[in-house]
């Protein structure tokens, strides 16, 4: 059984349905990406998995490590070992770096030590007492990942971690993704618009278009099939 199983998921907002029968499987220790154009339904998928207030899930099932996520309250999900790093990072701007991390650790089942996070991300160590809103986008992204990692998750949902970041930081993020996947045994579902990041980090790729999973491909095929990329990703 896969670690994360999304089956036949229908979801949408007041204005209309967005996801139509989405199926996604992520095996333990895999890095899987979910690719698609702007508005294809990537973030909606992520939000549906963690049970956010919106969108409303209208059908299907989401199972994580044997738990039915649709029947689990959003704030209980992190304790199952599934952690979300949301789109736009959403660090708590008025809290310091330490506070952001400590907050996440406080509400985890079996957290890692906060000091371990600073060792893991030396950039953050230098700015422990800085308010998150005074950090650069790349630093905030690292904080968001640290905040997630401190909860000692089995799996992280990473929503567009490289959006709007400078190329050298994008490479740093790519490295981090690979490290936590390979060295720390964390499973990752990555949403990206930046195909290069997905190619560099993920093993498998789901292509989503207008709320339908239209294909599931290997990294190799995605790299070679330009027509496929053009059709679904516009690149």
């Amino acid at each position: 059984m896969s670690l994360l199983e999304v089956r036949d998921l229908d979801a949408g907002y007041e204005t209309g349905q967005v996801l139509f029968g989405v199926d996604i499987d992520v095996e333990r220790d895999e890095v899987v990406s979910l690719l698609g154009r702007n508005g294809a339904g990537k973030t909606t998928t992520m939000r549906s998995i963690v049970g956010a207030d919106e969108p409303t899930v209208r059908g299907g099932s989401v199972t994580f490590d044997g738990h039915d996520l649709l029947a689990t309250k959003t704030h209980d999900i992190p304790r199952l070992g599934l952690s979300l790093v949301p789109e736009a990072r959403r660090c708590f701007g008025d809290l310091t770096v330490t506070e952001n991390i400590r907050l996440a650790a406080n509400h985890a089942e079996d957290p890692r030590s906060i000091e371990a996070m600073f060792e893991r991300f030396p950039e953050l160590d230098d700015m422990r007492d800085r308010a998150a809103k005074n950090m650069s986008g790349g630093e905030q992204q690292m904080l968001a990942i640290a905040r997630s990692l401190v909860t000692n998750p089995q799996m992280i949902l990473l929503d567009e971690p490289c959006e709007g970041l400078a190329p050298y930081i994008v490479r740093r993020i790519e490295d981090i993704i690979q490290e936590i996947s390979e060295n720390e045994g964390v499973t990752i579902l990555l949403v990206e618009q930046n195909v290069a990041v997905a190619l560099a980090t993920a093993d498998r790729h789901y292509l989503i278009d207008e709320g339908h999973i239209v294909d599931e491909v290997t990294t190799e095929r995605l790299r070679e099939d330009e027509e496929l990329r053009q059709r679904y990703l516009g690149v």
Binding site: A52, L84, P86, R102, N106, A108, D129, T151
Partner: protein
């Protein structure tokens, strides 16, 4: 922590224009001090006492507004209930003041929780006006129920003997019950500050204020915290009611009388900033007490009698608000983008 507290203290925001305003105010105060030194001290202390009463009510309001985005119009009614519960406990059941001081606020807290669970929790995601209207309805209900239970005639309880006299502060005398109120209010402010700034619970609440959904994604049970904070806000209003009821008595209109001025305090302080509410409460308390005196002194000095406008005291909080908001659109310490 250091950056965060300098932010809360607003030390990084002192501008040249602000300095000029403060300078002018200081000059006016000096004139008043020179003309009537004894009265000035009396009024200054009086303003402090009154300001702390405002702070006590504003604090709960500010917590609920800042955290839940609910304009809790019923907060004045909770304050009033604190006073009437005191009457029930002391005058009707013969319990001592110190019991009332603890029990009445807890009862008010329960009423607050009931309000939140039955009504307001369904409105968190609605426009603020929906919450305001529902809270207004609740305020009406509480007020009418109060009239039905305890009657229209204002009531009072005997001030406990230790607090009944006046305290001699060398420069002025103040009613002891008022002084006691200031001490309790200060302790409450301190307690809330420690709770919010220094505990893990406070940390999660601060996070929830900034991004409720993200806090949920991190595993924080925000609804439970909302109930607790609502309870806390109601308890504080209840404490205010006990003190006010003991000092001046209780009437079914006392909630109405205070609710609007308390909103003024919260807005002047800046929505979302507890510290702002404290500063604004004291500022408005002093302004209400000192403005008439300043005007009278000015009238004496300049010989322009028209400056001493009778009855100006009631308008002062609103004038302060206009001034503050024209200079600082978000109030003294308001958060950027919050309720804007």
């Amino acid at each position: 922590m250091s950056t965060s507290s300098s932010r809360t203290l607003g030390l990084d925001r002192l501008s040249a224009g602000g300095a000029a305003v403060w300078g002018a105010i200081a000059l006016l105060l000096l004139v008043a001090l020179a003309v009537e030194p004894g009265l000035f001290v009396d009024q200054f202390v009086g303003g402090l006492v009154y300001g702390m009463t405002l702070v006590l009510i504003a604090l709960g309001l500010s917590i609920i507004l800042g955290l839940l985005g609910i304009v809790n119009f019923a907060h004045g009614a909770l304050f009033m209930l604190g006073a009437y519960f005191t009457y029930q406990l002391m005058a009707l059941w013969g319990l001592p003041f110190w019991v009332a001081l603890v029990v009445a606020p807890l009862l008010v807290g329960l009423v607050g929780v009931l309000m939140e669970r039955l009504v307001l929790q369904w409105l968190y995601d609605e426009p603020p006006l929906a919450g305001l209207l529902a809270a207004f309805g609740i305020a009406l209900m509480i007020q009418e129920a109060t009239r039905a239970i305890w009657g229209d005639t204002p009531l009072s309880v005997a001030t406990p003997a230790v607090l009944a006299q006046s305290a001699d502060l060398a420069v002025t005398t103040v009613a002891r019950i008022r002084l006691f109120s200031v001490v309790v209010a200060a302790l409450v402010v301190l307690g809330v500050y420690l709770l919010i700034e220094r505990t893990d619970f406070g940390l999660s609440v601060r996070a929830g204020v900034q991004d409720r959904e993200m806090a949920g994604f991190l595993g924080i049970d925000m609804p439970r915290r909302f109930v607790l904070m609502f309870f806390l806000g109601a308890v504080i209003a209840g404490i205010g009611g006990v003190l006010q009821g003991t000092a001046v008595g209780m009437s079914p209109t006392m909630g109405q009388q205070y609710i609007i001025i308390t909103f003024v305090v919260v807005v002047v302080g800046g929505i979302g900033s507890l510290f702002g509410s404290v500063v604004a409460g004291l500022l408005i308390g002093e302004a209400v007490f000192l403005t008439p005196l300043v005007l009278r002194s000015l009238a004496d000095v300049t010989g322009v009698g028209a400056l001493a406008v009778p009855g100006i005291g009631g308008l002062v909080p609103y004038l302060v608000m206009i001034l503050v908001l024209l200079v600082r659109p978000r109030g003294l310490y308001g958060q950027e983008g919050f309720m804007e």
